[in-house]
């Protein structure tokens, strides 16, 4: 696998969080940069949730520049597609992998990775990616109703180091990012939907003030989840999806 042209790479032995490190480096970086840490002391997930990050698992942030305000969220789809491809490359087969809106990658129905995106300053976007390569957190560590945490090694037997996985992921991401910049979201959306779990089935989205249950119809041109409910279609921009 060749390292993609134009992308920088920093590998750290230890850092508080690669997302924080990306924020600190943002003012001095001139191009996209992958920041990998072998160990994170304060890994974090969405809205202050802790992210368990045992040794041997993958923790990296990709920092991008010049992203329009409306386009940040679309990187959820390029990033999860890239992750999917990296898993397929790592295991040699696509069996068991699927995508869950907007950016979860499932393995045998469990959660094997997490992606969190944050804007930084003007046009900066950090894509934080954590992957349970070697070890999954204990089910008791995750929120009730959340998916069963799984690891790549336990589910597939594949052994891969974070550095090796980054090579696969960076190459896959660069491909989708180039596609997005050249052709827009349409081909990304098509590719994402082709790998989506539960398309056409009844799912539930939990928003801060309500829960919406409906048939998973599609993802629209803005990346919103579209559920068909008894009261008509609902477009959802933010929420947690439950099966």
């Amino acid at each position: 696998m060749t390292w993609p042209a134009g992308y920088g790479r920093t590998v750290l032995a230890e850092v508080d969080s690669t997302l924080n490190e990306a924020s600190r480096r943002f003012p001095t970086l001139t191009g996209p940069e992958w920041i990998l840490a072998r160990h994170q002391t304060a890994a974090r997930g969405r809205r202050g949730r802790a992210w368990s990050n045992p040794q041997g698992n993958f923790a990296a942030t990709l920092m991008l520049r010049d992203i329009a305000p409306m386009d940040g969220g679309l990187r959820s789809f390029t990033a999860s597609l890239a992750l999917y491809d990296a898993f397929v490359a790592a295991t040699g087969r696509p069996a068991g992998f699927a995508l869950k809106w907007p950016n979860d990658v499932l393995l045998n129905g469990g959660k094997v990775a997490g992606i969190l995106l944050e804007t930084i300053g003007k046009g900066g976007l950090s894509i934080g990616i954590g992957v349970n390569l070697a070890e999954a957190p204990a089910p008791a560590q995750v929120e009730q109703r959340a998916l069963r945490p799984v690891s790549l090694m336990a589910e597939t037997g594949a052994r891969i180091t974070p550095e090796e996985f980054l090579e696969l992921l960076a190459a896959a991401f660069a491909k989708y990012e180039a596609q997005m910049r050249q052709f827009g979201f349409a081909p990304i959306r098509t590719a994402w939907l082709a790998r989506a779990a539960r398309l056409g089935e009844v799912i539930t989205a939990r928003l801060p003030n309500e829960e919406i249950t409906g048939t998973f119809q599609t993802v629209d041109e803005q990346g919103q989840l579209v559920l068909t409910t008894a009261n008509g279609p609902r477009m959802i921009a933010a929420g947690d999806v439950f099966f």
Binding site: G73, E118, P208, M235
Partner: protein, 161 residues
């Protein structure tokens, strides 16, 4: 028409617009009797959200149109905070967070001074935490959204003067 009455009417119309959105209604008409020959007749309506991305074609002024059908409330032009010159409007559809994370102090409060570029709130869309910056330095005069609220494109978020 007193100033107090006017403000109450504006608040009432805003509440109706919110009710409309939250309950997925297209139209709501209310008659309010204040006293003899003193009533407020309000009809608020909105275009239903179509599944096509039509809603993004033009930056809408506000998520809901508040239009008093009959006098005496001259609220229409002043009721819409999006028209305020100091209004910061939402660049996207998403969920508003007033704090960096649950339990943390809010980014801004009414009366706070902000510098250009300071984060005033977060809008989450597609698991992306979009930090919304203050477009200019000033004082936060009003906060028009609540933590956890769903906002549409163009919705007024805060007023900075």
């Amino acid at each position: 028409m007193t100033k107090k009455n006017h403000d109450a009417d504006v608040a009432f119309i805003e509440a109706l617009a919110k009710l409309l959105r939250e309950n997925e209604l297209t139209e709501l008409e209310v008659m309010r009797e204040y006293g003899e020959a003193d009533s407020l007749n309000v009809r608020v309506s909105r275009a239903m959200q179509a599944p096509a991305p039509v809603q993004y074609a033009a930056p809408a002024a506000a998520p809901a149109a508040a239009a008093p059908a009959a006098a005496p409330a001259p609220a229409a032009e002043s009721a819409d905070p999006a028209d305020h010159p100091g209004a910061v409007t939402s660049p996207m559809v998403g969920t508003v967070y007033m704090q960096p994370e649950p339990g943390a102090p809010p980014f801004v409060t009414v009366g706070a001074q902000v510098k250009e570029g300071d984060t005033i709130l977060i809008i989450e869309a597609m698991k992306t935490m979009n930090h919304i910056p203050a477009p200019k330095a000033g004082t936060v005069k009003r906060i028009l959204v609540e933590d956890g609220a769903a906002v549409e494109y163009g919705a007024p978020l805060v007023i900075i003067e």
